[in-house]
Symmetry: C2
Subunit: 214 residues, 2 copies
């Protein structure tokens, strides 16, 4: 597949994190008493890594922990994952700065192909009230991530009042459908959208003052 200008390249967080060395060997971790207390059947050192990545605990039903990360993302286990890791006894963390990761990948793709593409770094997040995860964008470069339609009018002339669409998350979810979880496919290309811009993954975090659930 050759890249074209305007393509959106969606790259799975796991492969980005591994490339950036965001891997922790559990043998180097000393669990706290709190980590031991909430671990259940999980390795308490794994729980300790989760707690180290947690800026705030949003919900705790041991061993399940919903955390706010330093980036502001709210997700299970602060994004720490033990699947598809590079070696037994390791866990993978989220990238330190997923927007910087997306920008770096975008620059590298431009060097390699001469094409101007957008890049999303995606991860699977659970959702309040709904079953299952959907992939969302945690980092972005080169595209609009939220379409703000407020002020536009529908076909009857009604002015839309609360319509902002998280297109980057919809793109990440669409990409998940072709990447899968156990097939080792870490990237997908979404073509035919017209969304060039300069949004970031941070733009997709609800500001606390408008957040009814923080």
């Amino acid at each position: 597949v050759e890249l074209e200008d305007g393509d959106v390249v969606v790259v799975a967080q796991k492969v980005v994190s591994k490339a950036e060395g965001r891997v922790v060997a559990l043998e180097d971790v000393a669990p706290s008493r709190f980590a031991e207390g909430i671990s259940g059947d999980r390795d308490p050192r794994h729980t300790q890594v989760i707690l180290s990545e947690t800026a705030r605990i949003v919900r705790l039903r041991p061993p399940l922990l919903i955390a706010e990360t330093r980036h502001g993302f709210v997700c299970a286990s602060a994004g720490v994952d033990a699947s598809n890791v590079p070696a037994a006894g390791t866990v993978v963390l989220l990238p330190k700065d997923p927007d910087a990761s997306a920008e770096r990948i975008r620059g590298r793709l431009r060097e390699l192909t001469g094409r101007s593409v957008a890049v999303l770094v995606s991860d699977s997040f659970g959702r309040a009230w709904r079953e299952g995860t959907t992939d969302v964008a945690i980092g972005a470069a080169g595209l609009r991530v939220v379409l703000d339609l407020r002020g536009r009018r529908d076909s009857a002339g009604y002015e839309l009042q609360a319509t902002t669409i998280a297109v980057a998350d919809e793109i990440a979810g669409a990409a998940e459908l072709v990447m899968g979880k156990t097939d080792g496919v870490p990237a997908a290309i979404v073509r035919g959208l017209d969304l060039a811009g300069s949004g970031t993954g941070s733009d997709l975090v609800m500001p606390p003052d408008r957040d009814l659930f923080r």
Copy 2:
């Protein structure tokens, strides 16, 4: 465009609701004192319709109301919408039974085309902690809506423990990218997936006993 067996036809809730007569004229609504009290700049009769569709108030920051509907969906304004309505002074409700709606549409498409397709009824839902709406599936017929990968192994042999993917929501979000909100396109076809099955929109509602946010 001709339908093919296995296509997923995504139909916007709004057009389904209109076809099913789920439209309320505000002139027929008498607002309660409570509706008046929380309406702010909104027409209190509109608020009254929202309250009538609400099984439980999840969050209230007047005039913003996050509701659990009778279907179990948690969404803004109980899914009641004043955009893209059939006439001024009306609002549109969610279908009474979106899974039955999807099944009906699926049957009708089979009659008209001879093709066996899946149908999703989609709507735009906000999300806790994240900016913007994404389209999700509120009704489904003819496909799996949640892929349960628990027990499968990654390439390193690690057994996935908590991986269920809400593919129907990812499909609905992908369809939104080509439908838009002000273009009057009420349906999209998603082709190339292999998800035949018998999931429902109800399957996408998190059961209360596992829900940390209800």
